[in-house]
């Protein structure tokens, strides 16, 4: 607190109101025009960017179930999808956070990728901005975003509500982040769009603006018309959807097994499972004995769903060496190998692990039930 707030209020009250700087607005408009933007309505600007940078273009219909279980059975052509991303005035939620820039990208029939960007010059043009955006988003069969399920789409809804615009019926939404997490969380850790770009597309952005700095640039543009940094934001936004489009194709082909990339096979199988369970099963079988047992666990889950009990039992040797692994091996030894001595050995190891777990992480209800069960099994086996 520098000077007294009350005194400052007094000073401002006595200050003459500054005349509005119409000159600033003219200046902004000239700069935007020079940067290739076209004014389509009062305060609303549009720009188009076309590139042909895609190696693989998918011409057959895309099975949307690969990205979300809710879309089972739905198909769409690649050029009938749109790729969408917002830039916003803040990073939090709430009705005071607004989107001022949007990019909507789509593939053309010859594999070009076209990015259309919408930009509002100032706050009062938000309704026009949103209406324009809605008409772009409504055309395709589905909207693809990165982290849109928790950011862009709720934000769109908040902004529409704030402007009392009814969204009507929007196409299906695919958040590519979900599939990306399944595939790459184990291998990359960080599943940000940026690290996927680097790892999968080999792309490296120069002079890119970090997302956290975007709001300040927009506020500065509003006040001063500073266009140099604003151009960075425009480019950042366009690059985001371009990468999104390319990543979408790569990830889809990876799920189908057409492109081989380093990823977590268990996650891959879980995505394949909603397209073709056989494909998932094959992926997991390939991995048996070559990992820490996660593939075996996933396969077991798949088998029990289809009531394939014997096959499931036979997976026991591939399980991880934890409580469940030892317990399953004990059952496997008893029922399949008919070796009660081995079974007892495994049951005792299972008990040991369980006891240690209970000591370390606390005794839960499930743990005490399991403890009870293993103890009874041991007593029974010793009775032989």
């Amino acid at each position: 607190m520098g000077t007294s707030l009350r005194a400052r209020l007094e000073r401002i009250r006595s200050m003459e109101k500054q005349p509005k700087a119409a000159a600033l607005q003219t200046d902004k408009q000239e700069k935007l025009s020079a940067a290739g933007w076209q004014q389509t309505a009062d305060g609303l600007w549009e720009r188009q960017d076309k590139s042909h940078s895609l190696a693989a273009f998918e011409t057959s219909a895309i099975k949307l179930a690969a990205f979300s279980k809710n879309l089972a059975g739905r198909e769409a052509l690649l050029n009938n999808l749109c790729f969408f991303d917002f830039e916003t005035s803040g990073l939090s939620g709430g009705s005071g956070n607004i989107a001022f820039l949007a990019a909507v990208g789509s593939f053309t029939n010859n594999g070009d990728f076209v990015v259309r960007q919408l930009f509002m010059e100032d706050y009062p043009y938000e309704a026009a901005f949103l209406n324009s955006l809605l008409s772009l988003l409504k055309k395709p069969a589905a909207i693809v975003t990165y982290n849109g399920a928790s950011f862009d789409m709720p934000l769109l809804n908040v902004r529409l509500a704030m402007n009392q615009i009814s969204p009507g019926k929007l196409p299906a939404h695919i958040d590519l982040l979900h599939a990306a997490r399944r595939l790459f969380r184990k291998t990359l850790g960080d599943c940000s769009l940026k690290s996927l770009e680097t790892e999968l597309l080999g792309l490296f952005r120069h002079n890119d603006i970090p997302g956290s700095e975007v709001p300040a640039v927009w506020f500065d543009f509003l006040k001063t018309g500073n266009m140099a940094k604003m151009e960075n934001v425009f480019r950042h936004n366009a690059l985001d959807v371009m990468s999104l489009g390319r990543l979408f194709v790569i990830i889809y082909n990876a799920i189908l097994g057409k492109v081989i990339c380093t990823c977590d096979e268990v996650g891959l199988a879980s995505l394949q499972n909603s397209l073709d369970p056989q494909m998932a099963e094959n992926t997991l079988k390939d991995k048996l004995g070559k990992d820490d047992g996660r593939a075996a666990m996933a396969l077991a889950k798949l088998y029990s769903k289809n009531n394939r009990k014997t096959e499931r039992l036979a997976l026991a040797p591939y399980y991880p060496e934890n409580f469940h692994g030892f317990y399953a091996r004990s059952i496997y030894a008893e029922k399949l190998l008919l070796d009660s001595k081995a079974s007892l050995l495994y049951a005792e190891r299972a008990l040991g692990v369980l006891k240690a777990d209970a000591e370390r992480f606390g005794n839960t209800k499930t743990r005490s039930i399991m403890l009870d069960r293993v103890r009874r099994k041991i007593i029974r086996l010793k009775g032989y």
Binding site: L5, R6, L9, I12, G94, S95, P124, A161, A216, L222
Partner: protein, 773 residues
């Protein structure tokens, strides 16, 4: 039968010679019979049946009046003591409306989370018996994420608190469209707790709430409930910014209540020293508890609560080694929620026989009725007094309240003038929604929620604050509207309570464990848990290892000590502006902005029980700085008071000013309805700013809450009361019960009382001569 027993025990207690010596007066609040009214004829049939099934054949008259007002869609406030059936005053019209109109919604606001949970339990009981399928959902910081969506989308009654409304609901109003569009009632319970700084914030939150409701086309009715305060209508109107009707007649029956005024006996009549009110209250509580009278003892600070509870428990464990039936618990803020819940439950089911509490138990938390309440020293305000007194009393039989006076002038004033306490007129609650800091904060939040339009009405200084915020770059003015233009989420950084979200967590590191045992706001932490301080938690003593303000941690370790610690706080002042000179004549009275820098640089070690000072330690912490409003009296060489001060030697003049300031601070709460702790004071023999003898009395909340302005208006009344106190004080030369403890450097002046008395009289003369008062 049981009640007759309690009546006898109370009689026994009051006639006990050990008790009788201190009893100055005994007042009785007579029993009152119930007065009933019929159930409304047009009451929804299902609800009527449910009422009858729960044996509510009739309503009390105040419940009926509430129904009538609500049906006429008039905003109103109900003034009701505890246990008078106030919840039905709002539940009946609200449930009726919700049943008749499937789109209707209601918002219930309670000052604390604990109260919301109590209310939800009660509401659900009523809903179940009426076989109503309304979801009534608590929506606060503890609500799980999954349940939140359900609350937003389908709850008909949302139970929350102002803090959650402020930081969670209003900023996300687009997720609550249906709720706001259908909002028919806003119920505000425990309205009296929305005063001072908290109330000033809450009034602004309500402005925002109504703004959002208007945006979605609804115009909800306010139903407010309050404990007794002097100005319920004024407070209600200030809080919600609308005209409010009051329901004051109470139809609920009331058993007899005895209020005893107890003054601890004098130990040293010459110096006017009395036995400590804390020790005496503990002694009285112990007597009652031994008789099996369930007792609550209210103490003024968290520290006192802990000390008294542990003394009491020790005392019982000595006498009744095999009788552990008497269990006494300390209850205060800073305990963990489940610790508090356990104590509340123990009080309800009787496993806890006594409790020592701060004002944390004043609010309507359900602990059932206790037989007796002992108030160790004046609780700071009239409404606190009656709230605490209200904790004693069940449906039937007598209850007892004992006010144990401390040596402070205000306490002694009430001992001499018990009728001031018993008079129906309680003090008023003050809020200042226009406090520039508070108001500006909420303009920010409101702009975040919806852009401001030109000509919009929101408080009194909207336009200048909007311009101020635009200049600072937080808002953008464009196209006749003001838009939020910052990347931040403003509500997150604004706490409605002085105890901010940014609390220090107290961590017990004894024997390598790392368990959280409490929390505390930063200004308090600087004065209570500095390095090497003794922190007392549930009767155990801990030594502070390290207070890490940057990381909001305080590490403590259990250790037995025979002393506790008390920080010595020093203030530096700088007057920033003289905004108002309400009076310039024989004295200058100034209201203005002030910078107060307070620092605790050392602390005292005080022995338990004897409170004897056994040493000092140093504190190394940065000072707290704040800008606030102050009132100042400047002795400008024209009036008789100033001439009198000049006639004294320098030292004696200082001694006289010190006594005068101390009386002013002690007596001010009588007229200002504030707490002693809300004010800071200082005196200067030759002030740096005015270059004259001056006395400052400032508001201890940043930006001020109107206390400095009120002080200027009430100076005459405060000084008159101070004069009366001095005249009646039975000490000879001045004592802690009138002019306060003399600093050592003033020990040469034996008769300080006479000079302070004269100064007060002359200031009053000067005021009157210039046509003031």
């Amino acid at each position: 039968m049981k009640t007759a027993k309690t009546d006898n025990k109370i009689k026994e207690f009051l006639s006990d010679a050990d008790v009788a010596i201190g009893l100055k007066s005994i007042k009785k609040l007579p029993a009152q019979a119930a007065s009933f009214a019929e159930l409304p004829e047009n009451l929804n049939a299902g609800l009527a049946a449910a009422m009858k099934a729960r044996a509510y054949e009739k309503l009390y008259i105040h419940q009926r009046k509430a129904w009538d007002f609500a049906m006429q869609r008039r905003d109103f406030v109900v003034l009701t003591p505890t246990a008078s059936g106030k919840t039905l005053c709002y539940n009946l019209p609200v449930l009726h409306t919700l049943m008749e109109d499937p789109e209707a919604r209601a918002l219930y606001l309670f000052p604390t989370k604990a109260l919301s949970q109590d209310q939800q339990a009660e509401l659900n009981e009523l809903l179940e018996s009426a076989e109503l399928k309304f979801p009534a959902v608590t929506y606060d910081g503890d609500t799980p994420r999954a349940q939140r969506k359900m609350a937003r989308e389908s709850a008909r009654i949302v139970i929350s608190n102002p803090d959650m409304l402020h930081s969670g609901i209003l900023p996300n109003h687009t997720k609550w469209i249906q709720f706001f569009a259908g909002l028919k009632f806003i119920v505000i319970d425990e309205m009296h707790s929305y005063r001072g700084v908290f109330g000033s914030h809450v009034a602004n939150v309500f402005r925002r709430l109504l703004r959002i409701a208007r945006h979605y086309g609804s115009d909800p009715v306010f139903i407010l409930c309050s404990a007794t305060i002097g100005n319920p209508v004024e407070l209600a109107e200030a809080l919600v910014g609308r005209k409010i009707d009051a329901i004051t007649e109470n139809g609920a029956p009331r058993p007899e209540k005895i209020i005893a005024f107890y003054n601890p006996p004098l130990v040293d009549p010459v110096q006017g020293i009395r036995r400590s009110s804390a020790d005496e209250s503990m002694r009285l509580s112990a007597k009652l508890l031994e008789k099996g009278v369930r007792t609550i003892l209210f103490a003024r600070s968290r520290l006192k609560v802990e000390i008294l509870a542990s003394y009491l428990n020790k005392r019982f464990s000595n006498i009744y080694n095999n009788n552990n039936n008497i269990r006494v618990e300390p209850y205060r803020s800073g305990l963990l929620p489940n610790e508090r819940r356990n104590i509340e439950k123990g009080l309800r089911d009787g496993t806890v026989s006594g409790v020592v509490s701060t004002n944390a138990l004043e609010l309507g938390i359900d602990i059932g009725g206790l037989d007796a309440a002992i108030l160790a020293a004046w609780p700071g305000s009239m409404s606190s007094f009656w709230q605490q007194a209200g904790r004693a009393g069940r449906r039937q039989g007598q209850s007892l309240v004992v006010f144990v006076a401390s040596a402070s002038p205000l306490d002694q004033f009430y001992i001499e003038n018990p009728e001031r306490c018993m008079e129906a007129k309680a003090e008023s609650a003050r809020i200042d929604p226009e406090n520039p800091y508070i108001y500006t904060d909420h303009v920010k939040c409101a702009a975040f929620e919806l852009p401001f339009k030109e000509g919009e009405v929101f408080g009194s200084e909207l336009e200048s604050v909007l311009d101020f915020l635009t200049e600072g770059g937080v808002l953008r003015q464009s196209g006749g509207r003001w838009f939020w233009a910052s990347a931040s989420y403003p509500a997150e950084k604004i706490s409605l309570r002085s105890a901010s979200a940014d609390n220090i967590v107290i961590v017990d590191t004894t024997k390598g464990q790392n368990s959280v045992i409490g929390e505390m706001d930063i200004p308090s932490a600087k004065e209570l848990v500095f390095d090497d301080a003794i922190y007392i938690h549930k009767g155990r003593q801990y030594v502070v290892q390290k207070l890490d303000i940057e990381n909001r941690h305080c590490f403590v370790e259990a250790r037995e000590t025979n002393y506790y610690t008390d920080a010595v706080v020093k203030n530096d002042l700088k007057l920033l502006s003289e905004d108002e000179k309400p009076f310039g004549g024989l004295l200058d009275l100034v209201v203005g902005d002030i910078l107060v820098r307070s620092s605790a640089e050392k602390y005292k070690k005080l022995r338990f029980h004897s409170n004897e000072n056994i040493g000092y330690g140093e504190i190394f912490l940065p000072p707290e700085e704040m800008q606030t409003r102050t009132f100042a009296i400047v002795f400008n060489n024209k009036g008789q008071a100033a001439l009198f001060l000049q006639s004294l030697g320098e030292m004696e003049s200082a001694s006289c000013l010190a006594g005068f300031t101390s009386m002013l601070r002690s007596m001010a709460p009588l007229e200002l309805l504030c707490d002693y702790q809300d004010l800071g004071t200082a005196w200067r023999l030759r002030d740096d700013h005015f270059l004259l003898p001056s006395v400052y009395i400032w508001d201890r909340y940043p930006g001020g809450t109107g206390l400095a302005e009120a002080m200027a208006q009430k100076l005459d009344a405060i000084l008159s009361a101070a004069y009366k106190r001095l005249e009646h004080c039975d000490c000879q030369y001045g004592c802690p019960s009138c002019i306060g403890v003399a600093e050592e450097r003033f020990s040469n002046f034996k008769d300080r009382k006479a000079s302070v008395n004269r100064l007060i009289k002359l200031v009053l003369t000067d005021l009157h001569a210039s046509g003031q008062g």
